[in-house]
């Protein structure tokens, strides 16, 4: 192998130009740094607020996976799920997007969306597949906050749904629950959103939400009542079944109505306190503003008369018994009961089917009616239960009386009730029974019995006589009779000689009869035989 001569190698050309400045390559890390810096800055800028939510249970919550949504729009993510130091709650830390910062006010609400079936509605079914998420509802407060307490259940009404909230003061909750419908003329217009016992424990404050277009029907005059269940009433026209919607009948609900809705009453203020009545009737009753108090003094027993018992005017229930007390002013020995009644004059007009209309009933009118014979009377509503009601009626033949006043309250004269009438008749019957001189009657009876006793004794003596004398004679007679009968039987036996003779005799009689017939036949055919003899033995 020969080495090539070194000196033959050509010289390298010197190229005149440079392609690019070598330091230009430093643009690359610069650009990378710029991009990285921009990423960091934008991340820092878009980094939203961090919040802590306390929940009772961490079911379905997972750090880094569970989203936080507002109106189903993703606004954040759970970053950690930890137990609270007191181990009562779990603390969920979440990082929200920057735009969500204004939503974080003190009354914003958070809850975990899970599948839920309640009040005839089904919600959160999508979470069956996608897993739970935390939903948010923005509050109205202006103070911001970063720690919240999660709700255990989804709120029924989101904070921005238009409408108003009212509080109803109920005696008890009935079958209401959160989510029960609020009905106005059977149209569902809202929902029960919550309830709580009042601090004194005497009633339940039910919070209802009425949606926007309908909330204007709620005025200060509105009446709310339990629309739960089915109201069955029996009257002269038959059975009446009154229900609200089927949902309300099964799940309970609140119905409301506003009398004189045309009067353009001002809408009730939000959080106005209403009374939730037991039923429709009570609701309308409680609203009757003009109540007339009337007292009646009864001398009958008021057993069976209860506070709340109806006051009836010829079949119309126009009021109720408000109080029952012993009249302190009555004399001892003749006690009288003072019964206070509340009369709603509006019902007199409402009975025609109209709405209760304010109507005054003044004492002068009542006084005139009393002069015509208007009286109060206790009547039995049910013979089975013995319940009483107060009837107002005209008794033209009642003893004249006038309307008086006790402590400024009209006192209506009363009639003896039908119960006491019944009592009177019973007493009368008892008295006449009493008057029947039962002692005399019983003495007569005793005498008769003595006589009867004597007669029986005599009969007894007669019988013993008969046994002593007559009986042996009778026995002899009977024996003789037996003998006679025996001999009769002997002679009547089939093989008895008498029978045989009789039979023979009968046979001879039959033979005789036959020869007579032969003779008669021969004579009929040959009458000449009588003269000439039989043709066979012709001469």
């Amino acid at each position: 192998m020969t080495e090539p001569p070194m000196n033959d190698l050509p010289d390298a050309r010197v190229s005149p130009r440079r392609r690019f400045h070598p330091s230009l390559v430093w643009l690359v890390p610069l650009v990378a740094a710029l991009i990285g810096g921009w990423l960091v800055v934008s991340a820092a800028l878009s980094r939203g607020p961090a919040i802590t939510i306390a929940f009772d249970s961490g079911q379905g919550l997972e750090a880094g996976k569970t989203r936080i949504k507002f109106k189903d729009v993703d606004i954040g993510e759970v970053t950690s799920v930890t137990l609270s130091p007191d181990r009562r709650h779990i603390l969920v830390e979440a990082r929200l997007v920057r735009e969500a910062a204004p939503y974080l006010v003190t009354d914003s609400r958070f809850w975990v969306v899970r599948p839920r079936i309640s009040g005839g509605t089904v919600s959160g079914l999508d979470t069956l597949l996608s897993g739970s998420y935390i939903a948010m509802d923005v509050g109205h407060s202006t103070r911001s906050s970063d720690t919240f307490t999660g709700l255990t259940e989804a709120p029924i009404v989101s904070g921005d749904r238009p409408g108003r909230q009212f509080t109803l003061d109920a005696e008890d909750l009935g079958s209401l629950e959160v989510g029960s419908p609020v009905l106005f003329r059977r149209v569902p217009v809202g929902q029960v959103v919550g309830y709580r016992l009042t601090p004194d424990g005497r009633s339940v404050a039910v919070t209802v939400f009425v949606n926007q277009p309908y909330d204007r029907y709620v005025t200060g005059n509105s009446r709310f009542w339990h629309a739960s269940g089915i109201d069955v009433s029996l009257d002269a026209t038959g059975i009446k079944l009154a229900t609200q919607s089927l949902v309300a009948a099964t799940l309970g609900g609140v119905a409301f109505d506003t009398p004189d809705i045309d009067a353009q009453a001002p809408e009730a203020a939000s959080d106005h306190l209403f009374v939730l009545a037991r039923d429709h009737e009570q609701a309308l009753r409680s609203g009757e503003a003009d109540v007339k108090r009337i007292l009646v003094r009864f001398s009958d027993s008021v057993r069976g008369l209860a506070v709340g018992a109806p006051v009836d005017f010829r079949g119309l229930v126009i009021g109720e018994v408000a109080s029952i007390a012993l009249d302190a002013s009555t004399t001892i020995g003749r006690p009288q009961m003072l019964v206070g009644m509340q009369i709603y004059p509006g019902r007199l007009t409402a009975a025609a089917g109209g709405r209760p209309v304010a109507q005054r009933l003044d004492d002068a009118q009542v006084a005139r009616a009393v002069a015509k014979g208007l009286r109060a009377q206790l009547r039995t509503a049910s013979l089975l239960t013995g319940q009483l009601y107060v009837a107002l009626d005209y008794f033209p033949d009642a003893a004249p009386a006038a309307l008086t006043h006790v402590g400024g309250v009209a006192l209506l004269p009363s009639m003896a009730g039908d119960t006491s009438e019944l009592q009177h008749s019973l007493t009368r019957i008892a008295r006449s029974i009493d008057r029947m001189q039962l002692d005399v009657l019983s003495a007569d009876t005793r005498r008769t019995l003595h006589t009867l006793d004597g007669a029986l004794h005599q009969a007894d003596g007669l019988m013993s006589d008969v046994r002593g004398q007559g009986l042996p004679q009778l026995l002899n007679t009977l024996q003789a009779l037996q003998q006679t009968l025996d001999s009769a039987r002997q002679s009547l036996r089939p093989d008895a000689p008498l029978q045989q003779d009789l039979r023979d005799a009968a046979r001879q009689v039959a033979a005789a009869a036959q020869s007579v017939r032969h003779l008669s036949d021969t004579l009929q055919r040959h009458p000449e035989a009588l003269l000439r003899g039989k043709p066979g033995d012709a001469p």
Binding site: A12, P22, P29, A32, G36, L39
Partner: protein, 212 residues
């Protein structure tokens, strides 16, 4: 046969250059801008501004390494929700899932290798910068290893690209490449560029100078 630890007849000392395109060996006088007299390819004794360029690429790669590991490389949207996966979370997932060999592979290929590449390149460049004469042979081997192993870090990107292409069932399940994938690809490419820009002959230059 092991290469000798020093080269007695280096091209630099003989002032000779070999054209990488036509193979023409030329003489040169040490000027900075040279061209092959035969084919016109621009020639240089050493890669021009080798160290500076390698540093630039490496710095860029290092900068990209951070978002590559922090940002999600894959977004999985299924019926059951959305999930962002960073490289590390993928490794953790695989590890917890029990398939630790796979986790190990992903960890080495996607996290360890780029990191080691960056560290090793920095080490090589620093050694050249400070003209260390220590173990040039081992350093050269390291460089060869770096060059060889470079493309394998693209494994992750390959997997993501495959999944993105395959899993596209609209509402049922969908996988999208995240911004981390871009950064990660950038890391791999930039480290390769850096390794390419680095002239391994510089490792031996220090020893050469010393001898001269």
């Amino acid at each position: 046969m092991l290469p000798r630890a020093e080269n007695s007849l280096a091209g630099t000392t003989l002032r000779l250059l070999s054209c990488p395109v036509c193979g023409q060996t030329t003489r040169h006088d040490g000027a900075r801008t040279l061209a092959c007299p035969c084919c016109g390819t621009s020639l240089a004794v050493r890669k021009p501004d080798s160290l500076s360029r390698a540093w630039a690429w490496l710095v860029a790669a290092t900068l990209c390494y951070i978002p590559a590991n922090v940002l999600p490389i894959m977004e999985t949207r299924t019926l059951f929700g959305r999930q962002d996966n960073t490289i590390l979370s993928g490794v953790v997932y695989l590890w917890l899932d029990g398939s630790w060999p796979l986790a190990l592979v992903v960890f080495i290929a996607s996290i360890l290798v780029p990191l080691l590449k960056i560290l090793c390149l920095s080490f090589l460049m620093l050694s050249v910068h400070f003209r260390w004469r220590w173990a040039p042979l081992q350093r050269t081997r390291l460089y060869r290893l770096l060059e060889a192993v470079g493309p394998w870090s693209m494994l992750d990107i390959y997997v993501v690209a495959l999944l993105v292409a395959l899993v596209q069932w609209q509402s049922l399940a969908m996988i999208q490449a995240g911004p981390g994938a871009l950064a990660f690809a950038a890391v791999v490419v930039l480290t390769m560029l850096s390794a390419h820009a680095f002239d391994p002959r510089l490792i031996w230059d220090a020893a050469e100078e010393d001898r001269a």
